[in-house]
Each structure stands twice: as C-alpha cells, then as structure tokens.
C-alpha cells in the first residue's frame, strides 16, 4: 500500500519554470553526444533549410533563467525536488531514470523563452523482484514557447 505522503503527490503541479534557449547551450548537447549535424553547427547551412536557422536537438529545452538549486538535476523543477524529497522520507533514497516519452510539435530555436509546467501523474509502490519495495513515479511536462504554442510534451518515469 502506498503511504499517505506519497499518495498525496499525485496531481501535484509544480511552479512553471522559465527557460531560455541559447546557441551555445544547444551546441553543448550536440557536442556531448558527438552529433556533427550541420543543422546544429553551420549557421549558413541551417539558414538554407526549411527551418531558416539553427534549431535545438530534441530534448533540449534551454536552461533555467533563475537560480533553482535543485541539484543534482538542473532541469528539475521544485516539483522534482518535492517528489525526490518525499520519496526519500518514505525510505526511497535512490532514484534512477526508468524511461522517457516525448512528443515534439514545433522546433526549439535559440532565443526562445520556454515555460515548463510539470505535474506528477503517477505514483505506485510495487514489490521488487528481490524483495523489498520499489516506487514508480511519472512526471508529465508541457513546454510552451513565447508565442503560447506547445513545443513539446514529456513524460519522465523514475524508479525510486
């Protein structure tokens, strides 16, 4: 049975986080994975494509404009901190990314200001294979740009 504190997390919404997208930030993503696609690296080439300029690789939604201090995850909102904190209080001190699902509706471009809103949509305790309990959580995020258009939706599944 899921403890009361954990169950109370379902439906909880985080304070929307404002992110700014920058050219150097999106290039660090492409650099780290070793992606030399000129769409990320060559301004002139990118301008000649249907996008009319450099766009961000999928999953890059810029960096927070405000000091968040929710280490170890830059991208985690106060919602993520609350989820991990409550899980830790319930004895789940470890956490590992179990999976992610995204839908991408529009390109993300340097200069974009994105607002990321999260909601905890799933909390479930299960018996682990080796005995002991495991906690499964799902956060759903909607990412909206400065024009009010939804650029992406993401679901992040964590095993605690």
């Amino acid at each position: 049975m899921t403890s009361e504190g954990l169950k109370g997390l379902i439906g909880k919404k985080g304070k929307p986080a404002v992110h700014k997208v920058e050219l150097s930030g999106l290039r660090k993503i492409a650099d780290a994975v070793g992606n030399r696609d000129p769409l990320y690296w060559d301004d002139e080439y990118a301008a000649s494509t249907r996008y009319g300029g450099v766009i961000a690789p999928p999953d890059h939604f810029g960096w927070p404009v405000k000091w968040g201090s929710n280490l170890p995850f830059m991208s985690s909102s106060d919602l993520g901190a609350e989820l991990f904190g409550t899980a830790a209080q319930a004895g789940y001190v470890r956490a590992i990314n179990a999976g992610m699902e995204s839908e991408y509706f529009l390109p993300v471009r340097p200069g974009d200001t994105l607002v990321i809103s999260g909601e905890i949509v799933g909390i479930e305790e299960k018996e682990g294979k080796k005995g002991g309990k495991m906690l499964f959580s799902t956060i759903e995020q909607t990412i909206v740009n400065q024009n009010g258009d939804i650029v992406a939706k993401q679901r992040i599944m964590t095993i605690h």
């Binding site: 994975v33 999928p58 991408y104």
Partner: protein, 155 residues
C-alpha cells in the same frame, strides 16, 4: 549534403542505418554539463558502488536516448521530423575509461538500431512508426523504445 529520404522510399521491416557510439567517461562528464544531470552515479565510482549499489559508473539514460534520437534524425534528414519517441532504460551501460587524452580503453561499443514497423497517412502527414533499441557488445538490448516520424512525400 546527405540524400533526403521520402515516405515512399520506406518499407515495413526496413532497417534504420545503425549508429555506432562509444560512451567514455569523458563523454559522460560532457553530457552531465550539457544536459544538467550532475548525479554522481555518472562520474564517481565509489558513489555508484556504495550508494547506488551499481557495479560502477553508468551511462545516463538521457544520453543513450540522445544517441537513439541522433540515429533517427540522421536517417530522416533535415526534411523529416521526429514527432514522438519513447525510450525504456532496461539495462545498465558502462562507459569506457580513457587511455589517453583522446583515446578510450577497450570496452563496450553501443549500437543504436531500429526498424520500420508501420506506415500511415493522417491529416495530410506521412507517418512512419519504428521500433528502436540499443545493444551493447554482448548483443544485449539495454534500451528499447518506439518512435514516430513524419517524412516528406513525393506526391
């Protein structure tokens, strides 16, 4: 520039060209900084073993996912659009330590693979469904998932 692939060129069962990646400890540090995931599980051996109870440092799920994303976007080209991707991180992958400043030690090589499972037209969009996965050097699938892409049409 690479040749653009069109919806008409794609058949069910067709394989996506394999993308080969070597994850190194250096790459994981770069990814930690670029993506903003500073979990020491990905760069501190003793923490990985003692606190996370992992056999060692592991590759970020988000990095493995970005490798699979690159496999798909390389394949669909600039006129294709990755509409949806779902990834499940089923098994651990371990980075190769560095031998020199530019070269890693021997170790695992990660293969990003995929194949076409469906084709459809919806609201004027030409869609292709794919199964995607990552294999380690032992042939074990450590990440699996699905993707939907929109391809340009010749019609």
């Amino acid at each position: 520039m690479k040749k653009q692939i069109y919806w008409e060129d794609v058949n069910i069962g067709q394989e996506i060209p394999t993308l080969t990646k070597i994850a190194t400890t250096m790459m994981l540090v770069k990814w930690a900084g670029a993506f903003g995931d500073y979990n020491p599980l990905h760069f501190e051996h003793d923490f990985a073993v003692n606190f996370m109870r992992s056999p060692g440092i592991i590759v970020h799920g988000t990095l493995k996912r970005q490798m699979l994303i690159q496999m798909v976007t390389d394949w669909i080209g600039v006129d294709g659009w990755l509409q949806r991707i779902s990834t499940q991180f089923k098994g651990m992958d371990y980075p190769r330590p560095m031998k020199s400043l530019g070269e890693p030690l021997d170790g695992d090589t990660l293969l990003c693979k995929g194949k076409v499972t469906g084709k459809s037209e919806k609201d004027g969009k030409h869609l292709v469904e794919c199964e995607i996965w990552m294999e380690n050097s032992k042939g074990e699938v450590t990440t699996s998932g699905t993707a939907t892409v929109i391809l340009p049409s010749k019609s």
